[in-house]
Symmetry: none
Subunit: 179 residues, 4 copies
Amino acid sequence: MLTERRRRGPQRSETSRQAIIAAASTLFQKHGYDHLTIEAIAAEAHVGKQTIYRWWPSKAAIIAECLSEGLLLPDWFVPENTGDVRADLRTWLRNIVLFLSASGNETLLRSLVIAGAENADVAQVLNERLGVWQVIADRVGDDTIEVGEALVGAIVIRSLRGGTLDEKFADRLLDAIAL
Amino acid sequence: MLTERRRRGPQRSETSRQAIIAAASTLFQKHGYDHLTIEAIAAEAHVGKQTIYRWWPSKAAIIAECLSEGLLLPDWFVPENTGDVRADLRTWLRNIVLFLSASGNETLLRSLVIAGAENADVAQVLNERLGVWQVIADRVGDDTIEVGEALVGAIVIRSLRGGTLDEKFADRLLDAIAL
Amino acid sequence: MLTERRRRGPQRSETSRQAIIAAASTLFQKHGYDHLTIEAIAAEAHVGKQTIYRWWPSKAAIIAECLSEGLLLPDWFVPENTGDVRADLRTWLRNIVLFLSASGNETLLRSLVIAGAENADVAQVLNERLGVWQVIADRVGDDTIEVGEALVGAIVIRSLRGGTLDEKFADRLLDAIAL
Amino acid sequence: MLTERRRRGPQRSETSRQAIIAAASTLFQKHGYDHLTIEAIAAEAHVGKQTIYRWWPSKAAIIAECLSEGLLLPDWFVPENTGDVRADLRTWLRNIVLFLSASGNETLLRSLVIAGAENADVAQVLNERLGVWQVIADRVGDDTIEVGEALVGAIVIRSLRGGTLDEKFADRLLDAIAL
DNA sequence: AAATAAACGAGACGGTACGTCAGGTCTTAGA
DNA sequence: TCTAAGACCTGACGTACCGTCTCGTTTATTT
């Protein structure tokens, strides 16, 4: 039987890895995606720059990993299933606007949009992470993935336009979507 | 009677102003918002850097002005009014996806999203420029501005997710929105 | 008889000219020759930059004019003539070291050296202004212009080397020169 | 026992250091102290600007180091000692005026004067480098440092005044100084 | 146990772009 | 037609980060 022969020498330091993504998350939330620098992450994590470049090809990849590890977005961004689709979506939308209207989180949304628009990998992870599309499609029926895109998209546009994100918005948005 | 006294000395050079926004537009479309540098704009426009810094506070402001002057987006991004609201919106959506699926224009969309997300002024101008919200609201009735946000938002999300932007998408999206 | 007809239009403003050389003198003494800028002179004199460039080819020329007008150096830098050459030179040297050891005047000397070394016109005016060479040569006899150069040069070198400029130095210097 | 522990990480690049002072020396002699720019040095030395700013606080400091390394002035600017003080000084003076009357070297002298007058560190190095003061004082006797200052100063003044620097000047200067 | 080799923290390196300052020229309105 | 004001292009300033590379140290796996 083939036993996977490990290399000689030290292995990747899990401590450093976690320090890096923690530092990246902190700085991302504090200063946004632009203004986030590798040097600052290295300094914040008490880590050499090379340790970052050795394992990640770009700052986008670091942010993607932060997302995968759940350090930037809460886990609960998926609708419940009580049987009443409309009510479930309403609750989900209200949770989201509640989260986004909290201090600092609107900046977070903008930064995530930037990160996703600049880098396809981040977009991919965001897609999976936020991945409500399929859930919604499953509930609403015949693969109307556009419903999910319209809901999430409306939130993004509203936020970028500087509009208020509140429950009234959530309700009116849901009314605008045919189910 | 108050006669507005003009200040002494030379006035702002309109030639330089136009050279700058033209150069900025060119480079924006060629390389995207990130990778767009003030130095490159100055060089392309055969202009001193200081002439840019004298009149614009940031590259975002330059892009905002490019948008205002119609250098980055075509003017016709507003629905017609034939009386048949659904048909008008369908035509409008098809035009948009047609435009975005043309070579290079998806990159343009991403860059505009980044610029708008990074800078509130750009977002404001994009809002006015793309400003279909009110038009749609007027047509569809009782100020459902969320309809416009959902339509535009869905396009953005679809694009960022890397999905195909075609007529089928446009039609299915319209079906998903209650009118 | 033909009276020299003056040109039509305004003549050179004597007010501006004096404001400019006064401002230049002030700034020269305050900040030195390097660190002296045309823009600062124009601002200090409440004068347009062009008014300076119209009449002087360089900042060195302005300083040369300041020297000619006696704004930077006192007039009395010429030995008396009591008949006792040695005593007269001693008094002259002592006056100079007294002047130079006063606060700020050592900086003045350095700045003048810089200005003279950078620009031949300034050197020329300094030569005339400080022009003790011929006076000394006349007194000491058979055109020993090198005596003057050695005396002034020793002062400059002593100052640049950061040495003390006092009466003892003056006396010892005079002793070192054969008369 | 104390073993001097070297710090971790890369050491200063001696190659870069020498390239920088060589470039600085070249440009100094070609264009003078004013007109010498850090950017030009960096470009000439094929070095990043930051590498210069990391190790030198100013261009004056670079020139000071060039002097210390013997890149700007020949080493032989010190009188011999044959026993005949007057003859030795005469030879020394003649060598100096010979050197200075060579093409370009008068400009070099002026630039060095400017550099020394603008910056105390350069003056200090020049003082040590040119340091004939003590040598002369030792020879001539009872610490008459002023003799050296007068000799060197006379040369400087003669040069700045635009006078000719030749053997006749050297001889007459020596005659003017009491030994 | 010794030798080997990769990962580590630190940080110097050649670069690019930043935003500012001053240079010297040119343009405008007012005196 | 000269002045004050100031916009123009140019180019150097000193700083921040980039991504690469080079140290001396630490650590884990062979020999």
